[in-house]
Symmetry: none
Subunit: 216 residues, 2 copies
DNA sequence: GGGAATATTCCC
DNA sequence: GGGAATATTCCC
Protein backbone atom coordinates (compact mmCIF):
# COMPACT_ATOMS: atom_id res chain seq x y z
CA UNK A 1 0.00 0.00 0.00
CA UNK A 2 1.28 3.40 -0.84
CA UNK A 3 1.80 6.21 1.56
CA UNK A 4 -0.87 8.80 1.99
CA UNK A 5 0.85 10.58 4.75
CA UNK A 6 2.86 12.72 2.47
CA UNK A 7 0.09 14.63 0.83
CA UNK A 8 -2.39 14.50 3.62
CA UNK A 9 -0.04 16.05 6.07
CA UNK A 10 -0.82 19.65 6.65
CA UNK A 11 2.73 20.80 6.48
CA UNK A 12 2.66 21.83 2.86
CA UNK A 13 0.79 24.56 1.10
CA UNK A 14 -2.82 24.80 2.02
CA UNK A 15 -5.11 23.12 -0.39
CA UNK A 16 -3.35 20.03 -1.50
CA UNK A 17 -6.71 18.37 -1.59
CA UNK A 18 -8.00 21.07 -3.81
CA UNK A 19 -5.27 20.53 -6.29
CA UNK A 20 -6.19 16.88 -6.49
CA UNK A 21 -9.78 17.79 -7.18
CA UNK A 22 -8.75 20.25 -9.82
CA UNK A 23 -6.72 17.53 -11.41
CA UNK A 24 -9.78 15.42 -11.76
CA UNK A 25 -11.56 18.18 -13.55
CA UNK A 26 -9.09 19.91 -15.78
CA UNK A 27 -6.33 17.81 -17.08
CA UNK A 28 -4.13 20.23 -18.93
CA UNK A 29 -4.07 22.61 -16.04
CA UNK A 30 -1.07 23.06 -13.93
CA UNK A 31 -2.99 24.06 -10.90
CA UNK A 32 -1.08 22.60 -8.03
CA UNK A 33 -0.97 25.60 -5.85
CA UNK A 34 2.36 26.47 -7.36
CA UNK A 35 2.57 27.28 -11.00
CA UNK A 36 4.50 25.33 -13.56
CA UNK A 37 4.57 27.71 -16.44
CA UNK A 38 5.52 31.34 -16.53
CA UNK A 39 2.73 33.29 -14.99
CA UNK A 40 3.98 36.59 -13.64
CA UNK A 41 6.89 35.92 -11.31
CA UNK A 42 5.51 35.71 -7.83
CA UNK A 43 8.25 36.46 -5.41
CA UNK A 44 8.21 37.28 -1.79
CA UNK A 45 6.99 40.88 -1.83
CA UNK A 46 9.44 43.47 -0.60
CA UNK A 47 8.90 44.47 3.03
CA UNK A 48 8.34 48.04 1.92
CA UNK A 49 5.39 47.03 -0.25
CA UNK A 50 3.81 44.83 2.40
CA UNK A 51 4.09 47.54 4.99
CA UNK A 52 2.69 50.19 2.72
CA UNK A 53 -0.19 47.95 1.77
CA UNK A 54 -0.92 47.00 5.36
CA UNK A 55 -0.77 50.59 6.42
CA UNK A 56 -3.60 51.29 4.00
CA UNK A 57 -5.68 48.39 5.20
CA UNK A 58 -5.68 49.73 8.72
CA UNK A 59 -9.27 50.81 8.88
CA UNK A 60 -8.92 53.05 11.90
CA UNK A 61 -9.26 56.79 11.98
CA UNK A 62 -6.01 57.07 10.12
CA UNK A 63 -8.05 57.06 6.93
CA UNK A 64 -8.04 60.81 7.23
CA UNK A 65 -4.30 60.69 7.02
CA UNK A 66 -3.84 58.17 4.23
CA UNK A 67 -6.19 55.94 2.26
CA UNK A 68 -6.97 54.31 -1.04
CA UNK A 69 -8.61 56.58 -3.57
CA UNK A 70 -12.29 56.04 -4.34
CA UNK A 71 -11.63 53.38 -6.96
CA UNK A 72 -8.92 51.60 -4.99
CA UNK A 73 -6.53 52.06 -7.88
CA UNK A 74 -4.11 54.35 -6.09
CA UNK A 75 -3.59 55.82 -2.68
CA UNK A 76 -3.57 59.31 -1.28
CA UNK A 77 -1.60 60.80 1.58
CA UNK A 78 -4.12 63.35 2.75
CA UNK A 79 -1.99 64.77 5.48
CA UNK A 80 1.73 64.46 4.88
CA UNK A 81 2.62 66.03 8.21
CA UNK A 82 0.58 63.62 10.29
CA UNK A 83 1.54 60.78 8.02
CA UNK A 84 5.20 61.47 8.63
CA UNK A 85 4.93 61.95 12.35
CA UNK A 86 2.39 59.28 13.20
CA UNK A 87 2.14 56.67 10.49
CA UNK A 88 5.65 56.30 9.13
CA UNK A 89 7.43 55.45 12.40
CA UNK A 90 4.87 52.74 13.07
CA UNK A 91 5.97 50.90 9.95
CA UNK A 92 9.44 52.15 9.10
CA UNK A 93 12.64 53.17 10.75
CA UNK A 94 12.17 56.83 10.07
CA UNK A 95 9.66 59.64 9.92
CA UNK A 96 10.71 61.34 6.71
CA UNK A 97 8.14 61.79 4.02
CA UNK A 98 10.85 62.18 1.43
CA UNK A 99 12.39 58.83 2.31
CA UNK A 100 9.00 57.24 1.86
CA UNK A 101 8.64 58.86 -1.54
CA UNK A 102 12.13 57.77 -2.47
CA UNK A 103 11.03 54.20 -1.87
CA UNK A 104 7.87 54.66 -3.89
CA UNK A 105 9.96 55.86 -6.79
CA UNK A 106 12.34 52.96 -6.38
CA UNK A 107 9.42 50.58 -6.84
CA UNK A 108 8.04 52.43 -9.82
CA UNK A 109 5.09 54.26 -8.30
CA UNK A 110 3.96 57.41 -10.05
CA UNK A 111 2.60 60.58 -8.57
CA UNK A 112 -0.61 61.01 -10.52
CA UNK A 113 -1.93 64.29 -9.25
CA UNK A 114 -0.38 67.69 -8.94
CA UNK A 115 -2.97 68.74 -6.39
CA UNK A 116 -2.59 66.00 -3.84
CA UNK A 117 -0.12 63.31 -2.82
CA UNK A 118 -1.61 60.49 -4.84
CA UNK A 119 0.55 57.56 -5.90
CA UNK A 120 -0.21 54.76 -8.29
CA UNK A 121 1.32 51.50 -9.37
CA UNK A 122 -0.37 49.08 -11.73
CA UNK A 123 0.16 46.17 -9.37
CA UNK A 124 -0.63 48.02 -6.18
CA UNK A 125 -4.39 48.15 -5.78
CA UNK A 126 -6.97 47.63 -3.08
CA UNK A 127 -7.76 43.97 -2.56
CA UNK A 128 -4.73 42.86 -4.55
CA UNK A 129 -2.24 42.04 -1.86
CA UNK A 130 -1.36 38.94 -3.86
CA UNK A 131 0.00 41.04 -6.68
CA UNK A 132 2.63 42.76 -4.60
CA UNK A 133 5.10 40.04 -5.42
CA UNK A 134 5.07 41.18 -9.01
CA UNK A 135 6.37 44.60 -8.13
CA UNK A 136 10.11 44.89 -8.41
CA UNK A 137 12.74 47.48 -7.73
CA UNK A 138 13.80 49.62 -10.62
CA UNK A 139 17.43 48.58 -10.26
CA UNK A 140 19.68 48.33 -13.27
CA UNK A 141 19.54 44.86 -14.73
CA UNK A 142 22.37 42.38 -14.31
CA UNK A 143 23.27 42.70 -17.94
CA UNK A 144 23.68 46.42 -17.73
CA UNK A 145 26.97 48.04 -16.96
CA UNK A 146 27.17 50.31 -13.97
CA UNK A 147 27.16 54.01 -14.64
CA UNK A 148 30.78 54.52 -13.73
CA UNK A 149 31.74 52.24 -16.58
CA UNK A 150 29.59 54.03 -19.07
CA UNK A 151 30.90 57.10 -20.84
CA UNK A 152 33.97 57.31 -18.71
CA UNK A 153 35.25 59.94 -21.15
CA UNK A 154 38.40 61.84 -20.24
CA UNK A 155 38.22 61.43 -16.54
CA UNK A 156 39.76 58.04 -16.58
CA UNK A 157 42.28 58.96 -19.18
CA UNK A 158 44.90 57.50 -16.93
CA UNK A 159 43.24 54.12 -16.65
CA UNK A 160 44.39 51.91 -19.42
CA UNK A 161 42.16 49.93 -21.65
CA UNK A 162 43.38 46.89 -19.84
CA UNK A 163 41.98 48.15 -16.60
CA UNK A 164 38.75 48.91 -18.38
CA UNK A 165 38.57 45.40 -19.71
CA UNK A 166 39.19 44.10 -16.28
CA UNK A 167 36.37 46.11 -14.83
CA UNK A 168 34.02 44.95 -17.53
CA UNK A 169 35.05 41.40 -16.90
CA UNK A 170 34.53 41.72 -13.17
CA UNK A 171 31.13 43.17 -13.73
CA UNK A 172 30.11 40.43 -16.09
CA UNK A 173 31.51 37.96 -13.66
CA UNK A 174 29.44 39.27 -10.82
CA UNK A 175 26.33 39.23 -12.96
CA UNK A 176 26.98 35.68 -14.04
CA UNK A 177 27.24 34.57 -10.45
CA UNK A 178 23.98 36.21 -9.65
CA UNK A 179 22.38 34.53 -12.64
CA UNK A 180 23.78 31.22 -11.51
CA UNK A 181 22.13 31.62 -8.17
CA UNK A 182 18.81 32.45 -9.78
CA UNK A 183 18.99 29.47 -12.07
CA UNK A 184 19.83 27.25 -9.15
CA UNK A 185 16.75 28.50 -7.39
CA UNK A 186 14.63 27.79 -10.42
CA UNK A 187 15.91 24.25 -10.47
CA UNK A 188 15.12 23.79 -6.83
CA UNK A 189 11.60 24.99 -7.47
CA UNK A 190 11.23 22.58 -10.37
CA UNK A 191 12.40 19.68 -8.29
CA UNK A 192 10.04 20.48 -5.49
CA UNK A 193 7.22 20.57 -7.98
CA UNK A 194 8.14 17.19 -9.37
CA UNK A 195 8.01 15.69 -5.94
CA UNK A 196 4.58 17.15 -5.40
CA UNK A 197 3.39 15.88 -8.74
CA UNK A 198 4.60 12.39 -8.03
CA UNK A 199 3.01 12.37 -4.63
CA UNK A 200 -0.19 13.58 -6.14
CA UNK A 201 -0.11 10.90 -8.80
CA UNK A 202 0.54 8.23 -6.24
CA UNK A 203 -2.30 9.37 -4.07
CA UNK A 204 -4.66 9.53 -7.00
CA UNK A 205 -3.78 6.01 -8.00
CA UNK A 206 -4.45 4.72 -4.53
CA UNK A 207 -7.81 6.39 -4.44
CA UNK A 208 -8.75 4.86 -7.73
CA UNK A 209 -7.65 1.41 -6.62
CA UNK A 210 -9.87 1.66 -3.61
CA UNK A 211 -12.83 2.75 -5.69
CA UNK A 212 -12.39 -0.16 -8.02
CA UNK A 213 -11.97 -2.58 -5.17
CA UNK A 214 -15.15 -1.39 -3.56
CA UNK A 215 -17.03 -1.80 -6.81
CA UNK A 216 -15.78 -5.31 -7.49
CA UNK B 1 4.99 28.92 2.82
CA UNK B 2 7.43 31.72 2.80
CA UNK B 3 7.82 33.98 5.72
CA UNK B 4 7.88 37.69 5.49
CA UNK B 5 9.95 39.42 8.02
CA UNK B 6 7.84 42.33 9.03
CA UNK B 7 9.11 41.68 12.46
CA UNK B 8 10.83 44.43 14.31
CA UNK B 9 9.51 47.37 12.42
CA UNK B 10 5.89 46.72 13.14
CA UNK B 11 6.60 46.48 16.81
CA UNK B 12 7.38 50.06 17.42
CA UNK B 13 10.51 50.70 19.34
CA UNK B 14 9.15 52.39 22.34
CA UNK B 15 10.22 55.87 23.13
CA UNK B 16 12.25 56.15 20.01
CA UNK B 17 10.79 59.37 18.85
CA UNK B 18 13.31 61.45 20.67
CA UNK B 19 16.26 59.53 19.49
CA UNK B 20 15.02 59.53 15.95
CA UNK B 21 14.68 63.25 16.02
CA UNK B 22 18.11 63.62 17.50
CA UNK B 23 19.46 61.35 14.83
CA UNK B 24 17.99 63.38 12.07
CA UNK B 25 19.50 66.52 13.48
CA UNK B 26 22.81 64.90 14.18
CA UNK B 27 23.17 63.76 10.63
CA UNK B 28 23.18 67.34 9.49
CA UNK B 29 26.55 67.80 11.09
CA UNK B 30 28.16 65.61 8.52
CA UNK B 31 28.42 68.18 5.85
CA UNK B 32 30.31 70.53 8.11
CA UNK B 33 33.56 70.31 9.96
CA UNK B 34 35.28 68.45 7.21
CA UNK B 35 38.96 69.05 7.38
CA UNK B 36 40.57 69.70 4.07
CA UNK B 37 44.16 69.31 3.12
CA UNK B 38 45.56 67.42 6.09
CA UNK B 39 48.23 64.93 5.24
CA UNK B 40 46.39 61.67 5.94
CA UNK B 41 43.14 61.81 4.01
CA UNK B 42 40.85 63.62 6.40
CA UNK B 43 37.33 63.15 5.29
CA UNK B 44 34.16 63.77 7.04
CA UNK B 45 33.91 60.77 9.39
CA UNK B 46 31.12 58.34 8.70
CA UNK B 47 28.09 58.80 10.94
CA UNK B 48 28.57 55.31 12.25
CA UNK B 49 32.04 56.09 13.53
CA UNK B 50 31.03 59.36 15.13
CA UNK B 51 28.14 57.74 16.90
CA UNK B 52 30.19 54.83 18.11
CA UNK B 53 32.88 57.17 19.35
CA UNK B 54 30.40 59.46 21.07
CA UNK B 55 28.69 56.53 22.67
CA UNK B 56 31.98 55.64 24.33
CA UNK B 57 32.58 59.16 25.51
CA UNK B 58 29.33 59.21 27.41
CA UNK B 59 30.76 59.11 30.89
CA UNK B 60 27.56 58.02 32.58
CA UNK B 61 26.86 54.74 34.23
CA UNK B 62 26.75 53.10 30.84
CA UNK B 63 30.44 52.36 31.29
CA UNK B 64 29.37 49.07 32.76
CA UNK B 65 27.75 48.29 29.45
CA UNK B 66 30.42 49.49 27.06
CA UNK B 67 33.71 51.33 27.45
CA UNK B 68 37.25 51.81 26.21
CA UNK B 69 39.69 49.19 27.40
CA UNK B 70 42.23 50.20 30.02
CA UNK B 71 44.71 51.56 27.47
CA UNK B 72 42.10 53.28 25.34
CA UNK B 73 43.29 51.35 22.31
CA UNK B 74 40.10 49.39 21.80
CA UNK B 75 36.63 49.17 23.24
CA UNK B 76 34.70 46.48 25.03
CA UNK B 77 31.00 45.70 25.03
CA UNK B 78 30.71 44.33 28.55
CA UNK B 79 27.05 43.52 28.35
CA UNK B 80 25.79 42.81 24.84
CA UNK B 81 22.23 42.36 26.00
CA UNK B 82 21.97 45.73 27.70
CA UNK B 83 24.03 47.32 24.98
CA UNK B 84 21.57 46.12 22.36
CA UNK B 85 18.46 47.07 24.26
CA UNK B 86 19.55 50.34 25.79
CA UNK B 87 22.51 51.80 24.00
CA UNK B 88 22.02 50.94 20.35
CA UNK B 89 18.57 52.46 19.86
CA UNK B 90 19.83 55.71 21.33
CA UNK B 91 22.30 56.06 18.50
CA UNK B 92 21.06 53.89 15.68
CA UNK B 93 17.87 52.86 13.98
CA UNK B 94 17.90 49.37 15.42
CA UNK B 95 18.69 47.30 18.47
CA UNK B 96 20.52 44.39 16.88
CA UNK B 97 23.95 43.58 18.13
CA UNK B 98 24.74 41.73 14.94
CA UNK B 99 23.95 44.76 12.81
CA UNK B 100 26.32 46.77 14.93
CA UNK B 101 29.03 44.18 14.45
CA UNK B 102 28.33 44.09 10.73
CA UNK B 103 29.12 47.78 10.64
CA UNK B 104 32.28 47.33 12.68
CA UNK B 105 33.45 44.78 10.16
CA UNK B 106 32.55 47.06 7.29
CA UNK B 107 34.87 49.68 8.72
CA UNK B 108 37.67 47.24 9.35
CA UNK B 109 37.45 46.74 13.10
CA UNK B 110 38.82 43.50 14.47
CA UNK B 111 37.57 41.43 17.35
CA UNK B 112 40.71 41.05 19.42
CA UNK B 113 39.58 38.77 22.21
CA UNK B 114 37.84 35.47 22.23
CA UNK B 115 36.70 35.97 25.81
CA UNK B 116 34.95 39.29 25.55
CA UNK B 117 33.46 41.55 22.90
CA UNK B 118 36.51 43.73 22.36
CA UNK B 119 36.97 45.55 19.06
CA UNK B 120 39.95 47.42 17.74
CA UNK B 121 40.81 49.69 14.86
CA UNK B 122 44.13 51.41 14.49
CA UNK B 123 42.49 54.77 13.98
CA UNK B 124 39.80 54.38 16.58
CA UNK B 125 41.27 55.19 19.96
CA UNK B 126 40.38 57.17 23.03
CA UNK B 127 41.10 60.85 22.61
CA UNK B 128 41.53 60.53 18.87
CA UNK B 129 38.23 61.69 17.56
CA UNK B 130 40.14 63.62 14.90
CA UNK B 131 41.41 60.40 13.38
CA UNK B 132 37.99 59.00 12.61
CA UNK B 133 38.03 60.66 9.22
CA UNK B 134 40.84 58.38 8.21
CA UNK B 135 38.73 55.29 8.68
CA UNK B 136 37.07 54.15 5.50
CA UNK B 137 34.62 51.50 4.50
CA UNK B 138 36.02 48.26 3.22
CA UNK B 139 33.71 48.34 0.21
CA UNK B 140 35.24 47.68 -3.16
CA UNK B 141 35.46 51.09 -4.77
CA UNK B 142 34.92 51.38 -8.50
CA UNK B 143 38.66 51.67 -9.03
CA UNK B 144 39.59 48.88 -6.69
CA UNK B 145 39.76 45.23 -7.56
CA UNK B 146 37.90 42.73 -5.44
CA UNK B 147 39.99 41.08 -2.79
CA UNK B 148 40.31 37.78 -4.55
CA UNK B 149 42.02 39.56 -7.41
CA UNK B 150 44.44 41.60 -5.38
CA UNK B 151 47.97 40.35 -5.56
CA UNK B 152 48.44 41.61 -2.01
CA UNK B 153 51.98 42.55 -2.83
CA UNK B 154 52.18 45.87 -4.60
CA UNK B 155 49.78 48.59 -5.43
CA UNK B 156 51.45 49.36 -8.71
CA UNK B 157 50.32 46.33 -10.55
CA UNK B 158 52.80 45.43 -13.14
CA UNK B 159 51.46 44.69 -16.54
CA UNK B 160 52.14 41.03 -15.94
CA UNK B 161 49.90 40.80 -12.87
CA UNK B 162 47.25 42.72 -14.72
CA UNK B 163 47.42 40.24 -17.51
CA UNK B 164 47.27 37.48 -14.98
CA UNK B 165 44.20 38.91 -13.37
CA UNK B 166 42.59 39.29 -16.69
CA UNK B 167 43.33 35.74 -17.60
CA UNK B 168 41.92 34.47 -14.35
CA UNK B 169 38.83 36.54 -14.86
CA UNK B 170 38.34 35.35 -18.37
CA UNK B 171 38.71 31.79 -17.28
CA UNK B 172 36.25 32.15 -14.46
CA UNK B 173 33.99 33.89 -16.86
CA UNK B 174 34.15 31.08 -19.33
CA UNK B 175 33.42 28.54 -16.63
CA UNK B 176 30.50 30.52 -15.39
CA UNK B 177 29.00 30.66 -18.84
CA UNK B 178 29.44 26.95 -19.21
CA UNK B 179 27.77 26.42 -15.88
CA UNK B 180 24.95 28.67 -16.92
CA UNK B 181 24.36 26.60 -20.00
CA UNK B 182 24.30 23.43 -17.99
CA UNK B 183 21.90 24.85 -15.48
CA UNK B 184 19.68 26.06 -18.28
CA UNK B 185 19.67 22.57 -19.72
CA UNK B 186 18.77 21.11 -16.36
CA UNK B 187 15.85 23.48 -16.18
CA UNK B 188 14.68 22.51 -19.63
CA UNK B 189 14.84 18.86 -18.67
CA UNK B 190 12.87 19.52 -15.54
CA UNK B 191 10.18 21.29 -17.48
CA UNK B 192 9.98 18.53 -20.05
CA UNK B 193 9.61 16.04 -17.27
CA UNK B 194 6.81 18.02 -15.73
CA UNK B 195 4.94 18.02 -19.00
CA UNK B 196 5.39 14.28 -19.32
CA UNK B 197 4.21 13.72 -15.80
CA UNK B 198 1.12 15.77 -16.38
CA UNK B 199 0.36 13.95 -19.60
CA UNK B 200 0.88 10.65 -17.88
CA UNK B 201 -1.40 11.63 -15.07
CA UNK B 202 -4.06 12.80 -17.44
CA UNK B 203 -3.93 9.62 -19.47
CA UNK B 204 -4.07 7.48 -16.37
CA UNK B 205 -7.10 9.34 -15.18
CA UNK B 206 -8.89 8.77 -18.45
CA UNK B 207 -8.20 5.06 -18.28
CA UNK B 208 -9.54 4.86 -14.78
CA UNK B 209 -12.66 6.74 -15.68
CA UNK B 210 -13.35 4.27 -18.42
CA UNK B 211 -12.78 1.34 -16.13
CA UNK B 212 -15.17 2.73 -13.59
CA UNK B 213 -17.75 3.49 -16.22
CA UNK B 214 -17.59 -0.06 -17.50
CA UNK B 215 -18.06 -1.43 -14.03
CA UNK B 216 -21.05 0.71 -13.22
C1' DG C 1 12.81 61.68 -9.94
C1' DG C 2 16.75 59.32 -9.38
C1' DG C 3 22.11 58.31 -8.54
C1' DA C 4 24.90 57.09 -5.04
C1' DA C 5 26.66 56.67 -0.21
C1' DT C 6 25.68 54.73 4.07
C1' DA C 7 22.80 51.78 7.21
C1' DT C 8 20.26 47.64 8.29
C1' DT C 9 18.94 43.12 7.34
C1' DC C 10 19.41 38.55 5.69
C1' DC C 11 21.96 34.76 4.65
C1' DC C 12 26.09 31.84 3.66
C1' DG D 1 33.35 37.78 8.46
C1' DG D 2 31.45 39.26 4.52
C1' DG D 3 28.34 39.34 0.00
C1' DA D 4 24.30 41.12 -1.38
C1' DA D 5 19.46 42.85 -1.07
C1' DT D 6 16.77 46.32 0.81
C1' DA D 7 16.17 50.71 3.48
C1' DT D 8 17.39 55.41 4.59
C1' DT D 9 19.80 59.48 3.72
C1' DC D 10 21.92 62.99 1.00
C1' DC D 11 22.36 65.45 -2.97
C1' DC D 12 21.72 66.87 -7.91
Amino acid sequence: MKQFSLSSSSTTSKGDDDSVLKLNLGLGNNSFGCHVGQSPRQRCPAPFLLKTYDLLEQGDDSTKIVSWNAEGTAFVVWSPAEFSELTLPKYFKHNNFSSFIRQLNTYGFKKISSKRWEFKHEKFQRGCRHKLGEITRKKCEPSVFPSYLKSSSEENATSSTEENNQQLLMEENKNLKKERLELQMQIDECKALEIKLLACLSQYMDTQQNKLRRLC
